[in-house]
């Protein structure tokens, strides 16, 4: 079923609006600060790109670290990985009870460091709109 674009957007916005977790708030705060700063559009785009690449890289590192070594050894010794093998690896990583906390804590730590970097660069905390 296809929903009109406007409806999708409003549903998505309200869904994240109720998302009061620190991860969503922290990224929103960083973007708002950068957006209101006097940095050039190129610099702003560069920060967003690095933020995206960095978060992806960090999450992948943590996920791979939680795939049991025997499983990693087995799949990486092959020339191809099947969909089922891939899904198994993700399953094993995410079902480790430490993984979700580490994913959240490490990404939050990084966002806090970026927030501190913006302050160091003289970019003020966002004004209340």
């Amino acid at each position: 079923m296809q929903y009109p674009e406007e409806l999708k957007l409003s549903v998505r916005i309200s869904r994240y609006d109720f998302d009061m977790n620190t991860f969503n708030a922290a990224t929103k705060n960083i973007i708002t600060r950068v957006q209101l700063s006097p940095l050039s559009e190129e610099e702003k785009a560069g920060i967003y790109a690095e933020l995206s690449l960095g978060l992806h890289k960090l999450v992948w590192t943590i996920l791979i670290a939680h795939i049991p070594e025997e499983k990693l050894k087995e799949v990486t010794s092959q020339t191809k990985m099947t969909i089922d093998q891939y899904a198994d690896c993700i399953d094993l990583a995410l079902k480790n009870p430490e993984t979700s906390k580490e994913l959240h804590d490490m990404t939050m730590e990084s966002l806090q460091e970026i927030d501190a970097l913006l302050t160091k660069k003289g970019i003020p905390q966002k004004i209340a709109l």
């Binding site: 079923m1 929903y3 999708k8 549903v11 998505r12 869904r15 994240y16 109720f18 998302d19 991860f23 969503n24 708002t32 957006q35 940095l39 190129e42 610099e43 785009a45 560069g46 920060i47 967003y48 790109a49 690095e50 933020l51 995206s52 690449l53 960095g54 978060l55 992806h56 890289k57 992948w60 590192t61 996920l63 791979i64 670290a65 990693l72 050894k73 799949v75 990486t76 092959q78 191809k80 990985m81 099947t82 969909i83 089922d84 891939y86 690896c89 399953d91 995410l94 993984t99 979700s100 994913l103 959240h104 490490m106 990404t107 730590e109 990084s110 460091e113 970026i114 970097l117 660069k121």
Partner: protein
């Protein structure tokens, strides 16, 4: 010599970009230290980029199963975080799915995957070009282009309205009218900025999984089931 020339012409990232990247590099290096991750990481990512296309029917099922697994394991940290993790782990399967819609978010995820090679210390021209190409997805002209200029209109139109309103208000001495205009302008500015922030967030984390990934999967799943049942009836 040719390599040196290439390095010289490659665009240089700004200082703040480098500092943001180094925050993540330090975290990753610290995390990898004393583990076996490095031994397997590169090969694992290579295999992820080449999941077999012929397993089309497995992809739809696995995408749904992984979606449920992610919600169950990281859901406590909120919808945005859960969607982000789901986008990451779904991507290799989406790339293997030849029928998945190749929209702007797909193109961006593909650009991100290409920029991946240049993440840590690779400064070759190709790696730098991929990173620059990925960066372009965040330029205001690209983000505004995706929404017909509405975002930029609201963002820039708002402050202009505030200034004009205040000026007019002070000239004719109507404080109430002035504050109404200013309030309206500020509202437009806040609304435009808020909308823009959401769009940038979506681009940083990937596409909103719930309104895109699963819709597409369900449509395909429904179509497959329809085809199977239609075939059986025939």
């Amino acid at each position: 010599m040719a390599e040196i020339q290439e390095l010289e012409v490659a665009p240089k990232p700004s200082e703040i970009d480098v500092q943001v990247a180094s925050i993540f590099n330090r975290k990753v290096e610290k995390y990898e230290k004393g583990t076996v991750i490095r031994m397997y990481q590169e090969k694992f990512h290579d295999l992820c980029q080449q999941l077999p296309h012929e397993e089309q029917n497995r992809i739809t099922v696995k995408l749904q199963q992984i979606g449920i697994l992610v919600r169950g394991t990281v859901g406590e940290y909120g919808a945005r975080f859960s969607d982000f993790i789901r986008n990451i782990v779904s991507w290799p399967m989406i790339m293997a799915d030849s029928t998945f819609p190749k929209d702007k978010y797909y193109q961006m995820a593909l650009a991100r995957a290409k920029a991946w090679t240049g993440y840590a210390s690779d400064t070759t021209k190709t790696a730098t070009r991929e990173r620059e190409s990925f960066k372009d997805h965040f330029l205001p002209s690209v983000i505004a282009g995706a929404t017909g200029g509405a975002v930029i209109g609201a963002l820039y139109g708002g402050p202009i309205g505030v200034v004009a309103g205040l000026k007019t208000g002070s000239e004719i001495g109507l404080a109430i009218a002035s504050s109404t205009v200013a309030g309206g302008g500020l509202g437009a500015f806040a609304g435009g900025l808020r909308s823009l922030v959401y769009k940038i967030q979506d681009r940083i984390f990937g596409h909103p999984a719930r309104s895109y990934n699963m819709d597409a999967s369900f449509i395909k799943f429904g179509a497959s089931m329809g085809a199977i049942s239609g075939g059986a009836q025939a």
